[in-house]
C-alpha cells in the first residue's frame, strides 16, 4: 500500500467522520450533509482501489487518473455551492417575509392599543 493511498483514505474517512459527528451534534442538518457523505464515500472508494480509479479515468478519457479526483472534487464543490445559493435565497425570502410581517404586526398592535386607550378614556 503506497503512502498516497493511505493519506487519501485517511483524509476522506476523516471528512466522513466529521460530517457524521456534526450531524450528531445537531450542527449540520441531514439535508445539507447528504452530498458531503456521498462524496466522501466515493472518494474513499476511489482511493481504496487504484484499479477502479484508473479504469474510470481511462474510460472517460483522462490519462492521469488522479486528476479525475480533482475533477470530481471540483464538480462536487460546484454542486454544494449551488445548493448553498438556493438555501441562502430561501432564507432571504423568509427573512423578507418576516421583516414585513413584523413591521405590519407592530403597526397593528399600536393601532389596537391606541383604540383601546381612546375607548378607555371615553368610558
Amino acid at each position: 500500500m503506497d503512502i498516497t493511498r493511505v493519506v487519501s483514505i485517511l483524509l476522506s474517512s476523516s471528512i466522513f467522520i466529521l460530517v457524521i459527528w456534526l450531524i450528531r451534534e445537531g450542527r449540520l442538518r441531514e439535508k445539507y450533509s447528504l452530498l458531503w457523505l456521498c462524496t466522501s464515500i466515493v472518494i474513499i472508494g476511489l482511493s481504496v482501489s487504484r484499479h477502479v480509479l484508473e479504469t474510470v479515468a481511462i474510460a472517460v478519457g483522462i490519462y492521469y487518473p488522479p486528476s479525475l479526483l480533482f475533477l470530481l472534487g471540483l464538480l462536487f464543490l460546484l454542486l454544494v455551492n449551488i445548493g448553498y445559493g438556493t438555501s441562502i435565497s430561501r432564507l432571504s425570502e423568509s427573512n423578507h417575509k418576516l421583516t414585513q410581517e413584523i413591521a405590519l404586526l407592530k403597526k397593528a398592535l399600536e393601532d389596537t392599543d391606541k383604540k383601546r386607550r381612546e375607548t378607555d378614556t371615553k368610558a
Partner: protein, 233 residues
C-alpha cells in the same frame, strides 16, 4: 374609495418633513414605510402624526413598497400611490395618476417624468431607459416611455398581484413585465416633477452597469416565469 399614499423612506429625515407637508393637500391616508433607517425617519413621521410602518432591518426599495401594498391590501384600501420620500414627486400630481385607476381604465399607472423646465438626465440613464423600453416591448409587447419612474398608482388588481410578488431591488422595470404578463392594464400619464431636494440618486455610475445587467436579466427570467395565481387570493 379609500386611497393610501405609500412613502418608502430610507434615511430620509432631511426630506420627510417637506414631503409630508406637501402631502397634506391629499385627501386620503398617508403611510410612511421606514426601511430600517439609521436616522430619525420614524420619529419624524410620528411627530408629524403620519402612520408609520418600520422594518426591523433594511430590505431595499422593493420590499418597502411591497410592505406598503400589503398594508393597503389588509386594511381595505382600493388603491395605493407610491410617492418617493426624497421630495421629487409632487402631491398636486397625485390626482392625475389616480384618475385612470378610478375610472377603471388601468390597474397600474406610471407617472412619466417631466419637469417644468424639461426633465434632464444623464446619457447613461437615457441609454438604460432605451434598452429597458426595447426589452419590455420585446418581452411583453407593451410600449412604455419611462420604465424607471417610481411615481405610480396601483389599482386593486395591482395591489393584490404585487403583494404576492414584487422584486427586491430596482423593482420599477421588472414590475412592468410582471404586471403585463399577469394581465394588468398599464397606462402612462405625464406628471410634473420637482428637482431633487437633498441627497443623491440611489444609482451612481459605477452601480449603473450592474443595475442594467441585473434588471435586464431579471426581466428575461420574469418573462419565463409561470403566471402568478393571484386572482383567487
Amino acid at each position: 374609495m379609500k386611497a393610501l399614499v405609500i412613502v418608502p423612506a430610507y434615511n430620509e429625515e432631511a426630506n420627510l418633513p417637506f414631503v409630508l407637508d406637501d402631502l397634506r393637500q391629499f385627501s386620503g391616508d398617508v403611510l410612511v414605510v421606514n426601511d430600517g433607517s439609521k436616522d430619525a425617519t420614524e420619529e419624524i413621521a410620528r411627530q408629524l402624526g403620519v402612520a408609520c410602518v418600520s422594518h426591523p432591518c433594511n430590505l431595499g426599495i422593493g420590499g418597502t413598497v411591497q410592505t406598503g401594498l400589503l398594508y393597503a391590501l389588509r386594511n381595505g384600501y382600493h388603491y395605493a400611490i407610491q410617492f418617493d420620500g426624497d421630495g421629487q414627486h409632487r402631491a398636486d400630481q397625485i390626482e392625475k395618476i389616480v384618475a385612470q385607476v378610478e375610472r377603471g381604465a388601468a390597474d397600474l399607472v406610471i407617472g412619466v417624468r417631466t419637469l417644468p423646465e424639461g426633465y434632464k438626465c444623464g446619457i447613461f440613464r437615457k441609454m438604460g431607459s432605451v434598452l429597458f423600453c426595447f426589452l419590455i416591448r420585446f418581452l411583453t409587447g407593451e410600449r412604455v416611455a419611462d420604465p424607471t419612474a417610481g411615481f405610480r398608482c396601483y389599482g386593486p388588481a395591482a395591489i393584490k398581484l404585487f403583494s404576492l410578488s414584487y422584486p427586491d431591488d430596482y423593482p420599477e422595470v421588472e414590475s412592468i413585465v410582471t404586471a403585463s404578463r399577469n394581465g394588468l392594464t398599464i397606462v402612462e400619464v405625464p406628471v410634473v416633477m420637482r428637482q431633487r431636494q437633498s441627497g443623491h440618486s440611489s444609482i451612481n455610475r459605477r452601480k449603473s452597469a450592474y443595475y442594467m445587467l441585473k434588471v435586464s436579466l431579471a426581466m428575461c427570467v420574469e418573462a419565463m416565469r409561470k403566471k402568478i395565481t393571484w386572482k383567487e387570493v
